[in-house]
């Protein structure tokens, strides 16, 4: 990709306000998620927001702030592989939702514009060790929590669902990468890093059926290619022979060129095969999300070099496209050689479950290093920024978490969180509420505390 093009695609984050300090974290058990693996006891040196040294014998330079980890665990920051972080504040309050495109737009929807750096969910995400997240668009949905009965209620109380042309609404829009730094005026590291499509039951709901969706998708990709070759015709105002608008077609060009990955939410084994075939025929770069039946097609996924984002707790036949869901999906995909990221549920603040889900995957057969990679370096690889984040290696951004213990354990919490070398405040609203009410009563209402 040319530098000019790269710049044109980037919404760069505001430069970090304060010059990051020099910090040495010593006496830590370091889980690097990189080539160095686990360092039983060692240190990391952070300067200018980067990792400048890591190893068993890091000597802090004079003037560096030294943090003695006393044997606690240092890991790369968790990377949430597909979330609504920053674009949805309260699930049950639709006015706080910016994760769906609406009726006028599809592929061209750029979720990055709606990211709110002041979201109270971002400090909560940091409490789960999350230092970067991919924000991915979804189809419009009702609010009110995610439990079955609440969905049922939402369905009963919602008005008619939005209708837009099938061609446009097949594409949910474009994802962005953000970091969870406190105080930044813009959290977006890079926008338009992937195009999102729902396949299977959700896709069929829009297109009419799976077969209809395949045909519509192929038509959309064809239209984008024709548009690319004949922009002048479109620019003259000639009729566009497509379901898609000019903006949607423009957004699909990097997808059909195989430069921007297409994130497809897909669940049953047959659909995964179908999407693999579609991508082969259309020469698309794929990322798959969901893949509850991925374990049935592990070899095919590995052969195609297609990575997957999975929820390792998903083990129920919640729909007819997840009948084969099982707890060892992660372990089996890993054994098949599939590049995999483990995510928390995307609803409200469940993004914080990613680290626990990694632990659940370990309990069900995934190796510990593979589980660590699945929430750190793998999402960085999948989304194309492994040169900057995802592991503790010299030269990478100092996105680090010092944990009170094993990062996957229920009893563990983050002792210190660094984003790009800056230690973050642990000031989540939920912690402030906790501290207010943990104080002994003093005759004044808690609002005075």
């Amino acid at each position: 990709m040319s530098r000019a093009l790269l710049l044109s695609l980037l919404l760069t984050a505001a430069p970090l306000a304060a010059a990051a300090e020099t910090v040495a974290i010593v006496n830590a058990r370091i889980e690097t998620a990189g080539p160095a693996g686990e360092i039983a006891s060692g240190g990391v040196l952070i300067r200018d927001g980067k990792i400048v040294a890591v190893g068993p014998a890091v000597v802090p330079p004079s003037g560096a702030r030294v943090i003695d980890a006393h044997g606690q665990v240092l890991s790369p920051g968790v990377i949430a592989a597909s979330t609504s972080l920053g674009v949805e504040e309260v699930e049950g309050v639709s006015s706080t939702h910016d994760e769906a495109a609406g009726p006028e737009i599809g592929a061209a929807f750029d979720i990055a514009y709606g990211v709110n750096p002041a979201s109270t969910l971002i400090p909560i995400a940091r409490e789960a060790g999350i230092t970067r997240a991919i924000v991915t668009p979804v189809a419009g949905r009702g609010g009110g929590g995610d439990r079955d009965e609440e969905v049922d209620i939402a369905a009963q109380t919602a008005g008619g669902s939005e209708h837009k042309s099938p061609g446009a609404s097949l594409f949910e829009g474009q994802a962005a990468a953000i970091r969870t730094a406190s105080g930044d005026t813009d959290l977006v590291l890079k926008s338009r890093i992937g195009m999102v499509v729902d396949f299977g039951e959700n896709g069929a709901r829009i297109a009419g059926s799976r077969g209809a969706e395949v045909t519509l998708l192929k038509a959309a990709f064809d239209d984008a290619r024709r548009f690319q070759k004949n922009r002048a015709v479109f620019d003259r105002g000639a009729e566009i022979p497509s379901h898609l608008t000019r903006e949607d077609l423009e957004a699909l060009i990097p997808v059909v060129e195989g430069r921007t990955p297409l994130l497809v939410r897909v669940h049953r084994a047959a659909d995964i095969r179908l999407v693999l075939r579609l991508a082969r025929e259309e020469k698309l770069k794929l990322i798959l999300e969901g893949c509850e039946e991925g374990w049935m097609v592990g070899a095919e996924l590995a052969a195609a070099g297609v990575p997957v984002l999975i929820d390792s707790e998903a083990d129920l036949p919640e729909s007819f496209e997840t009948l084969g869901a099982r707890l060892d999906n992660a372990a089996r995909l890993q054994a098949a050689g599939v590049l995999m990221a483990i995510e928390g549920a995307r609803d409200f603040n469940n993004v914080r479950q990613a680290r626990f889900n990694a632990g659940t995957a370990v309990a069900n057969g995934l190796s510990y290093p593979a589980a660590l990679a699945a929430v750190t370096i793998n999402p960085a690889r999948i989304w194309g920024f492994a040169d900057k984040a995802g592991s503790i290696e010299v030269g990478k951004d100092a996105d680090l978490v010092l944990w009170s213990g094993d990062p996957f354990e229920t009893s563990t919490y983050p002792v210190a969180v660094f984003v790009a070398g800056r230690q973050q405040p642990q000031d989540a609203r939920i912690l402030k509420l906790r501290d207010r009410y943990a104080k002994p009563a003093d005759g004044y209402p808690p609002e005075y505390h």
């Binding site: 699930e91 909560i124 929590g145 083990d315 919640e318 906790r434």
Partner: protein, 490 residues
């Protein structure tokens, strides 16, 4: 013929008056009651049993029978009894479906008992999920099976969750693999009065009756807050506001009190041999009357502190007791009040923020409230979380210990065992490892609060109902048989 009738009536009144937790399930009572209904005073025609709500209060009786068991001892495991005790390397003995003994290392094992080596593993009471919609909102989540909310009227106290339970829900099997031995299945929260809950043993069965926990009292699901007013407000009906909700509760309790008085008057007259017109039976008011008589336990979906306080005032106004609040994101704000009122609070470890009424949910909710003396329960309300309640309790315990509350595993285990048994009114039968109680027991691979812990063996009434290492004890639902994956899980 009159004597047994009077006796039966007196028994029924006595049962109500002493506010027992338990519906009479004793079959010995039933013939007497039925005979009584057919006998009548003087020239009065006997009232058919279906028209008198006090005659057969168990019309869908449990047909549960424990699975086969043999004397079993788990030796050498760390034991959390849920009564505040942790025993390192102790012995749990199960005989004839009951806990026969719980003791330290070296305690006697009866001759002939199967001995399970528990070394390095942990034993707890069976996990009880106090808030489940398994069966009523089963997997697959399709409209044909979504039977949890009779969202057609704000007061549907007349519906019973057990009539919506689809026993083939694979969620029951997954929950069992997570150590869940009993569940309270609740109607949803669309209505002010959602209907009766049912308490189930988590054993595979063809009917809901085959899962019903013998002797468990019924619950009545009530709902505070956003859901009822949203459902009915959107239909242009009351309630459409919080104040509309409260008016709806109070009007219903006034009707229930009137109904109760009319039946009491009727029975008093009949008992004296006087002529009396029976009131018309009303299924809605039957359930509310059961609450007023202390037989049916209020299970109240209620997130916010101020709503809980209002519900408590209403309970005082009409003279009933709330057994438990559910969800209680703001429980920590009124934990002392809940402790004083003897009301349990069900909550999650870290689910919060998904709607306005859950915005103030904090991870330390359970721990802070526990330290304030409240009866705390970690519940699921979800078919995935129900499989991980042990870890959820671990997360909640850790949030307290992070601020120095020093909650021990011996305490926190009660959040998913003894306390939900208390809230459901079955704590005299299950929920802790105490001699004489039902042998509902889990053998865990590790400290149950660890993310890596898995249920290795699960016992209900002393019978092995799940074994992680033995496919013969990994039941698969009819629904999953022959489907992709075949419901295989570890």
């Amino acid at each position: 013929m009159r004597t047994p009738w009077v006796l039966a009536a007196a028994m029924a009144v006595g049962l109500s008056a002493c506010a027992t937790d338990t519906l009479s399930q004793d079959k010995a009572d039933k013939p007497a009651a039925t005979t009584a209904s057919t006998a009548s005073a003087h020239d009065q025609k006997p009232l058919p049993p279906g028209l008198d709500p006090t005659v057969d209060r168990d019309p869908f009786p449990s047909t549960y029978h424990p699975l086969p068991s043999h004397p079993t001892a788990i030796v050498g495991a760390n034991i959390l009894t849920a009564t505040g005790v942790e025993i390192d390397g102790g012995v749990v003995v199960m005989v004839d479906g009951r806990i026969a003994a719980v003791g330290p290392a070296g305690a006697a094992v009866p001759a002939g008992a199967e001995v399970i080596d528990g070394k390095g593993r942990w034993v707890t009471p069976g996990v009880i999920d106090g808030h489940s919609h398994l069966g009523v909102y089963p997997s697959p989540s399709v409209p044909a099976l979504s039977d949890g909310n009779e969202a057609t009227d704000p007061n549907t106290a007349y519906v019973w969750a057990e009539h919506s339970v689809w026993p083939a829900d694979p969620g029951f099997d997954r929950a069992r693999a997570g150590g869940v031995t009993a569940l309270q299945i609740l109607p949803g929260s669309a209505n002010l009065f959602g209907g009766r809950s049912v308490f189930l043993k988590n054993v595979p069965a063809i009917t809901a009756q085959g899962m019903k926990f013998p002797g468990a009292p019924y619950g009545l699901k009530m709902a505070c807050g956003e859901n009822p007013k949203r459902v009915y407000g959107s239909k242009g009906r009351t309630p459409s506001t919080e104040m509309g909700n409260v008016a709806g509760y109070r009007r219903a309790w006034i009707d229930a009190a009137d109904y109760t008085r009319r039946w009491d008057d009727y029975h008093a007259k009949i008992a004296k041999g006087e002529k009396a017109d029976p009131p018309k039976r009303d299924l809605t008011l039957d359930t509310l009357m059961g609450v007023l008589k202390g037989e049916i336990r209020i299970q109240n979906h209620c997130y916010r502190a101020y709503e809980m306080a209002t519900m408590i005032d209403i309970s005082h106004e009409f003279g009933f007791h709330i057994a438990a609040f559910h969800h209680t994101s703001e429980g920590y704000k009124v934990a002392a009040l809940l402790a004083k009122e003897g009301i349990c609070m069900h909550t999650w470890a870290d689910w919060a923020g998904f709607k306005m009424e859950s915005l103030d949910g904090i991870e330390a909710n359970a721990a802070l409230s526990h330290r304030a003396g409240a009866c705390v329960i970690i519940h699921s309300d979800d078919p995935i979380i129900t499989q991980h309640l042990n870890q959820e309790a671990g997360i909640a315990m850790a949030a307290g210990n992070r601020i120095g509350l020093n909650i021990t595993p011996a305490e926190a285990i009660a959040w998913i065992t003894l306390n939900p048994a208390k809230a459901a009114g079955v704590a005299d039968k299950t929920g802790s490892l105490e001699p004489g109680k039902m042998a509902d027991v889990v053998l865990w691979s590790a400290n149950p609060f660890s993310i890596y812990a898995k249920a290795d063996k699960v016992f209900v009434d002393g019978a092995l109902i799940y074994d992680r290492r033995d496919p013969r004890f990994q039941p698969r639902s009819d629904f999953e048989l022959g489907q992709p994956g075949e419901g295989a899980f570890q």
